[in-house]
Symmetry: C2
Subunit: 242 residues, 2 copies
């Protein structure tokens, strides 16, 4: 179809594939799921998977999975399936796991403390490298081996430390101010847990996780079941965003 990418492209790796670049946003989040499943399969000693198997383990149908992978080029073998290890490598590259990612977390309250201690992040290649808070009782202490710094240090620490992703877990009223600091420090990707709408420049990407919204969607379905109403238009199953 439309091939906007400029010429040259300087073939990053020595691979002979032509990766039709424009990956749909919806596909990106699923790639992350496939990557996790591939890791489990590899762990289990599996060397090859069919689209049917990988799709099943990921909670999607096989057509969707194949379409998703097709955006990155051809990495399967017809009549056989996909090589677990090489596909894993391909996805890691596509999802930016070959760059070093460094995460800064702002707000070490209830939720922030849990996020700081969550080992799953480091395990997936997203080590939380720095913590920030405004509370002087917290500043200077360590959580999970990571020093808590004062929010005012965000500019120097983030800019100098190569922070690529910021997580905001502050109370709502503080979120925008913190966001501005992160943006000023050059952070262009932000995961926001505060229940407010952040205003950012166009070149900054914000994703929002709103747990109350998730609960309310579930409550809606509870109520609907109870009133015996007709089914809603179903399409998306799972995940969040905003």
């Amino acid at each position: 179809m439309t091939l906007p990418p400029e010429s040259g492209a300087a073939a990053p790796d020595g691979n002979g594939e032509r990766p039709a670049r424009p990956v749909p946003e919806a596909t990106v989040s699923r790639l992350a799921v496939y990557l996790r499943v591939l890791g489990e399969l590899r762990e289990a000693g599996v060397e090859t998977v069919s689209s049917e198997e990988l799709a099943g383990a990921s909670g999607v149908n096989s057509a969707k999975l194949r379409k998703d992978l097709s955006y990155l080029g051809s990495y399967g073998v017809r009549g056989v399936g996909y090589d677990v290890t090489s596909l894993q490598g391909r996805l890691q590259g596509e999802l930016g796991m070959d760059h070093r990612q460094s995460v800064a977390l702002v707000g070490v309250g209830n939720l922030g403390h849990a996020l700081a201690g969550y080992t799953g992040f480091a395990g997936r290649g997203f080590p939380v490298s720095t913590l920030f808070d405004v509370d002087d009782d917290l500043v200077g202490s360590e959580i999970n081996g990571i020093r808590v710094r004062h929010v005012r240090e965000i500019p120097e620490v983030c800019a100098g430390g190569g922070v690529t992703i910021g997580m905001i877990a502050t109370p709502g009223p503080a979120a925008q101010k913190v966001c501005d600091l992160l943006v000023a420090a050059g952070v262009q990707s932000i995961l926001n847990f505060a229940p407010v709408l952040l205003t950012v420049p166009d070149d900054v990407e914000v994703r929002k996780v709103d747990l109350s919204v998730e609960l309310q969607v579930l409550a809606f379905h509870v109520a609907r079941r109870h009133t015996g109403a007709a089914a809603v238009t179903d399409k998306t199953n799972e995940s969040v965003v905003s």
Copy 2:
């Protein structure tokens, strides 16, 4: 997929409005956002909002907001806007906030502990009424004033206590077992924080929050910016890249 369509239910609803029932799933999550914003407006003493204002504060455009609200019937006044209080009431009803919602949280580890202590839930009408864990050191203790019970008590406590929503914040390997217990106890709505795909009967609704996936989507955009590639197909609100 979804359920076998309509089953009678001859609309005994004494409401004067004709609420063209089938609310799109995408709309439901936005209704929750509008509801939060309406609460803030009311708090601030605002009595009327235009679609433009409410949309702006919610991070969507006004056409989408009006379309969303139109699924619930006409609740605005042409030339004026919406009455904050009455619209709030309408949304609360639609989102099941007039039923009493009772949330059970399973897994009081890192994340679970934070969720149990998060005051935002109760504030939004989702009081966490019960906590469960397998760890005998935790069972019997209290978090945020809520007693921690043993997982094996799920059946009786949930069935008897009218739990409508279950949250799973256990390690991955335990999630499916816990899920089965909740389902057996009659819970039909589950919010899953464990990084695994849950298998449930068709009449049970599962939503998944996968923080690692969120980070990986952000990492993808970081990587793409870095390689100067073309923009992805953007659809979801907020932020684009160039």
